[in-house]
């Protein structure tokens, strides 16, 4: 018997997004999901935002250039806000992590960097999560931090 949607959602929210008692691979997984959702949110907002380059949602033929310019300039002034800049720093972190960890996942999907199956012995480290994969995970964290620092410098000129 399958569980109800509500109990599945509850278990997912408190299980998956709370990897504290689990190993590093589980952290990589949770972060990949969270960053994916965050960047999807940014993508939706970005499509609406860039739609204002030509004048917004109701423009479906070529408008007067002055109209497009006015709408875009107003949009850019609205977005020129430290709160949105902080959001972009977070998105920079998420996007950089998702990129490098995504490359790790792509490599494993096609059979590279896989650990050999072995008897699970203490301390029960996952054999599938090899040393190179661990290195790639930490590289993705490093790249994410570097991107966030770069974004801080661009938007706040530290």
């Amino acid at each position: 018997m399958t569980d109800s949607l509500a109990s599945d959602l509850k278990r997912a929210l408190f299980g998956w997004f709370y990897p504290v008692r689990y190993n590093l691979e589980r952290w990589a997984y949770a972060l990949q999901r969270i960053s994916g959702i965050a960047v999807t949110g940014y993508f939706l907002a970005h499509i609406v935002e860039t739609g204002n380059v030509v004048g917004g949602l109701d423009v479906w033929s070529v408008p007067a250039t002055s109209h497009a310019q006015d709408v875009w300039t107003a949009t850019f002034q609205f977005l020129d806000n430290p709160l949105f800049d902080v959001g972009l720093v977070v998105i920079g972190f998420m996007l950089a992590y998702h990129t490098i960890n995504g490359i790790r996942l792509t490599l494993t999907e096609f059979g590279f960097l896989q650990g050999r199956p072995a008897r699970p012995d203490f301390p029960y480290e996952p054999k599938s999560f090899t040393k190179v994969q661990r290195a790639l995970f930490w590289l993705s964290i490093l790249f994410a931090v570097a991107s966030a620092v770069y974004a801080l410098n661009v938007f706040f000129g530290v």
Binding site: D3, L9, A12, T40, I47, G51, V54, Q69, W72, T106
Partner: protein, 118 residues
């Protein structure tokens, strides 16, 4: 479409995004001040100049298609890992496919009109 085909497309679009997304971030952040590059016009890589450049406009269209598929398929994967069942899985797939097509139409509208602006 088979689940494995959907996932193959997920990896292919992911790698595509690394390339065309790289070009997009390069023109915004590494060709001069981003404030100048996000201004309507005036610079070599200002908003309208990028849309008018055929190669860069095509890059943006490719980026739209890749991210549209990758993002919505990613949401689909998350939702069908949350809960299983034919009705749920089909419903999720259809709703996200329609959302993806609407996003594609709106984004393509922006690129085509911006490319044609006087």
């Amino acid at each position: 479409m088979k689940e494995s085909t959907k996932m193959l497309l997920h990896y292919v679009t992911g790698l595509g995004i690394v390339i065309v997304g790289g070009v997009h971030l390069f023109t915004v952040f590494l060709t001069g001040s981003y404030v100048q590059n996000l201004a309507f016009s005036g610079g070599q890589f200002s908003v309208i100049a990028v849309y008018r450049n055929l190669v860069l406009a095509l890059t943006l269209e490719l980026l739209l298609v890749f991210v549209d598929y990758h993002a919505l398929n990613g949401i689909r994967v998350i939702l069908i890992e949350f809960h299983q069942g034919t009705r749920w899985e089909r419903g999720v797939a259809w709703v996200l496919a329609v959302a993806g097509i609407l996003l594609f139409i709106y984004g393509t509208r922006t690129i085509l009109i911006a490319n044609a602006l006087a």
